[in-house]
């Protein structure tokens, strides 16, 4: 156990080491990278991805994948944005500024449930279903908004304040929300029965029904959670950027989120994934995003470098892990 535990520790420690090394390397060239102010910039880049990554981690642990999260983010942000713009009433009163939060979460959860139903009812692979809904849900955003952006003036200032005002130490609310979601996910994954069943299902899908795990229900729940968290990320997008755009909002989100989850150590083969690893994966990507403009890398090459960094991180992680397994085998022999 101790040796195995060491490997798992090393696995997350490995990502932490990568973050430190990366920051030191960038700091050596641009000392201003290693300042508190920069930390704040990095942290501000991460909350949406972190929230999405928590849902995606559960999906990947269950041996599925959810490509539609960016579009679910877009639809749910747009629904709330439209309600703000048309001054909707809410149970007889004007919609409060925070009304978009539950609405976006519910919209996201329903869209996620739609993914889950297609996957469980028709036994379709998640990658195909969510590729379809990636396009379908994006299209919905255009239809309901008539392809028009929700501009700054419609987003309540209190909502925008979540990304600017801080309860403590100058750290804005949305960062606390993101870490709160991570904590809740940790509790859910490690300390509830259904949370453990997600790991069991991904670890051995054949054995799961034989042990009485309700595979379809667990799968539906996982996709609904992924949708609900995309919805939360959607309303926080409106808070952070102050607008909702039918084509930009959430597009490319799935790339960042899946990259973060995989760098964080979740196995595409299911059964393996931790909240801590995922948080570190998100932070590593945040550091890279913050460093690229600072290093004066032109916008045209940023996407390529971003992708290359992700692949390098995966290669380093994989070879470190294989060495770990090899050393374990040697220890046994």
């Amino acid at each position: 156990m101790t040796t195995l535990r060491k490997i798992f520790l090393r696995r997350e420690a490995g990502i932490a080491v990568m973050i430190v090394l990366f920051c030191l390397a960038v700091g050596a060239v641009k000392p201003q990278f290693l300042t508190l102010d920069q930390l704040r910039i990095i942290l501000l880049l991460t909350p949406l991805v972190m929230i999405g990554a928590m849902g995606q981690m559960l999906v990947i642990v269950a041996r599925h994948v959810d490509l539609s999260i960016g579009s679910m983010l877009g639809v749910s942000a747009m629904v709330s944005g439209m309600l703000y713009r048309y001054d909707a009433t809410w149970f007889g009163v004007d919609m409060p500024w925070w009304g978009g939060i539950p609405i976006s979460i519910v919209v996201g959860a329903l869209l996620g449930l739609g993914n889950g139903l297609l996957i469980t009812l028709f036994r379709l692979p998640a990658i195909i279903v969510t590729l379809g809904t990636l396009s379908l849900y994006r299209g919905l955003t255009f239809i309901i908004s008539n392809a028009k952006q929700i501009d700054r003036q419609w987003i309540p200032s209190e909502l925008k304040g979540l990304a600017q005002t801080s309860p403590i130490m100058g750290i804005p609310w949305i960062i606390f929300i993101a870490f709160g979601v991570a904590l809740a996910t940790y509790f859910f994954a490690m300390h509830t029965r259904v949370g453990r069943q997600i790991f069991a299902l991904g670890s051995n899908p054949v054995a799961a029904p034989l042990r009485g795990i309700k595979v379809n229900q667990v799968t539906l729940l996982v996709f609904a959670i992924s949708g609900a968290l995309s919805g939360l990320a959607g309303i926080l997008y409106a808070s952070r950027w102050g607008f909702v755009n039918p084509s930009n909002t959430g597009s490319g989100f799935e790339f960042q989120v899946i990259a973060a989850v995989v760098i964080g150590g979740a196995s595409i083969n299911g059964g393996v994934g931790t909240v801590l690893g995922t948080v570190l994966g998100v932070l590593l990507l945040g550091c890279v995003s913050a460093a690229l403009p600072l290093l004066g890398i032109p916008g045209t090459s940023q996407a390529a470098i971003y992708g290359a960094v992700i692949l390098i991180a995966l290669v380093i992680d994989r070879s470190v892990r294989q060495q770990g397994i090899a050393s374990l085998k040697r220890a046994r022999a």
Binding site: L4, M190, H191, T192, G195, R196, N204, A208, G212, I213
Partner: protein, 508 residues
């Protein structure tokens, strides 16, 4: 146990099972008593595992009824079985490798409340208690992945105790275990029996059955043949009961002229798998390789063919010593190996029949790298005619053909390379009787053409009818080399069934 000891725990009545149209189990009546270890014995495919799986809810019986403590029950799934107190322990246990041992004991049906908390501390304490009860030392907080098979079996037994199972079925549990692990398993099985639980023990090994079991039930061809106290039956009785079907005269072995030695194997050894295997096959000769599943027959074939080469020993082809470390070398030397599991090792399911056949000879098919469609079609048509493969079209995906016709197509593929030595591993498994008969005459013809044939088969009548000689393996050793004239089911089975101190010709 007190006076209830006479009332059976399980009463199975008239249990039958039909897969597709094949009866694999017919009208089985069996009582299992509390506090006994009951062995199920039989050849491969005799129905003992099917019966065990019906008790455990893996299969639903087509006919018949099961009563538990006198009350009729429907065992509709493994989950229901677990709730009724019936646990099946698979040879290779089914588990969740990424979860901890303790979690593996409890996860699933027994839990309620999706969002209720996982009581980690209590779970670990309970798991440790069960491990102590079994007297095994496994860290219950470590993940299942990486546990030895023996330890995984222990976890499964612990799971049976956790759900307080009264019937624990072990399906060939000892095959992957070391002797010491077997001893541990037996000690635990006896302890569970003494607590009044019922153990069903499926094994091929007579000496283990004798050492452990109280009663034994023998299956043959889907029928229950006998149930008796183990002390009432000699080894010879058991073997006779296991094989006692009439030998069907399938075959007319055509008079092939037997020539030079084509394949010679000497002292072939792969530690832990097989050791000191020596034999030869002559041109025009069909040599059978019999024995029980797991005796190492396929491993020997794979070693000869270079799939997993032996650690020591020599192989000679046509009198020349050769070293084969890769199948492509074997093919170049005129060897062909038609593997047992065609679905895994033989066919390209989604490709057409003609592509599946012609893939063996890339140079003839595609000189210069471009496939000649006409050549491909000609090869396919030739094979269909020679082996009478039944299909709708040569362009049909091979996966759509029946098992027997797939097997013919695979054989056709290998025949394209014109092999001098042909190794067939269970060529007729899972194919219909009619197609089997065709296969037998094809094999006879191939021998008559002067090819050396090594035929691995678990079907005794097949070996006896087709082969000029029958070699028998048992637990990685060659235990007999029986010429056709003296080959009987008893002789083969006696050499195949592992017994401690196996000496040739002992027991009768």
């Amino acid at each position: 146990m007190t006076d209830t000891a006479v009332a059976p725990l399980i009463s199975a009545r008239g249990i039958g099972k039909t897969f597709a149209t094949v009866d694999v189990l017919r009208d089985v009546d069996l009582d299992l008593l509390p506090g006994e270890i009951h062995a199920l014995l039989g050849e491969n495919g005799a129905g003992k595992s099917t019966f065990a799986k019906i008790l455990a809810g893996v299969h639903r019986p087509t006919r018949g009824s099961i009563a538990l403590n006198g009350k009729p029950v429907e065992v509709t799934s493994p989950v229901v079985a677990q709730k009724l107190g019936i646990t099946l322990i698979h040879q290779e246990p089914i588990s969740f490798p990424d979860l901890s041992v303790a979690e593996n004991l409890v996860i699933g049906a027994a839990e309620d409340g999706w969002f209720s908390r996982v009581p980690w501390a209590e779970m670990t304490r309970e798991a440790n208690r069960l491990m102590d009860l079994l007297g095994v030392r496994i860290d219950v907080t470590r993940p299942m992945r990486g546990l030895s098979i023996a330890d995984q079996q222990m976890v499964e037994i612990a799971r049976a105790l956790a759900s307080n199972s009264r019937l624990i079925i072990m399906d060939e549990p000892t095959a992957p275990l070391t002797p010491r692990e077997v001893e541990t398993l037996f000690a635990i099985a006896r302890k569970l029996r003494d607590e009044g639980r019922t153990i069903v023990f499926i094994s091929h090994r007579l000496e283990e059955v004798r050492a452990l079991c109280d009663r034994v039930t023998i299956f043959r061809d889907g029928n229950k043949i006998a149930t008796d106290t183990i002390g009432n039956l000699s080894d010879a009785d058991i073997i006779r009961l296991m094989i006692g079907r009439p030998v069907k005269e399938y075959m007319h072995k055509t008079g092939a002229t037997i020539g030079e030695v084509a394949l010679e194997v000497e002292g072939l050894t792969l530690p832990g798998v097989f050791s000191d295997i020596s034999f030869s096959v002559r041109k025009g000769e069909i040599v059978g390789l019999g024995g029980l599943v797991g005796a190492g027959r396929t491993d020997v074939a794979k070693a000869i063919f270079g799939v997993t080469p032996a650690a020591s020993g020599t192989v000679s082809i046509n009198g020349k010593r050769v070293s084969i470390t890769d199948p492509s070398q074997a093919i170049a030397l005129g060897l062909a190996f038609v593997p047992e599991d065609r679905a895994v090792a033989g066919i390209f399911r989604t490709l057409s029949v003609e592509q599946n056949i012609s893939v063996a000879v890339p140079k003839q098919l595609a000189p210069g790298g471009f496939i000649r469609r006409a050549v491909e079609r000609a090869m396919g048509e030739d094979a269909v005619r020679k082996l009478s493969i039944r299909l709708a079209s040569l362009r049909q995906p091979i996966g759509e053909l029946s098992g027997g016709n797939q097997q013919k197509a695979i054989l056709a593929r290998w025949l394209l390379t014109d092999p001098g030595v042909l190794i067939l591993d269970e060529p007729t498994r899972g194919i219909d009787i009619g197609v089997k008969a065709e296969f037998y005459s094809i094999i006879g013809e191939l021998a008559a053409q002067g090819r050396a044939i090594l035929l691995i088969s678990s079907e005794l009548p097949e070996l006896l009818a087709l082969c000029d000689r029958v070699l028998v393996m048992s637990e990685g050793r060659l235990t007999a080399d029986i010429p056709r004239s003296r080959a009987t089911q008893e002789a083969v089975m006696r050499a195949a069934v592992p017994r401690r101190s196996t000496t040739e010709g002992a027991a009768a």
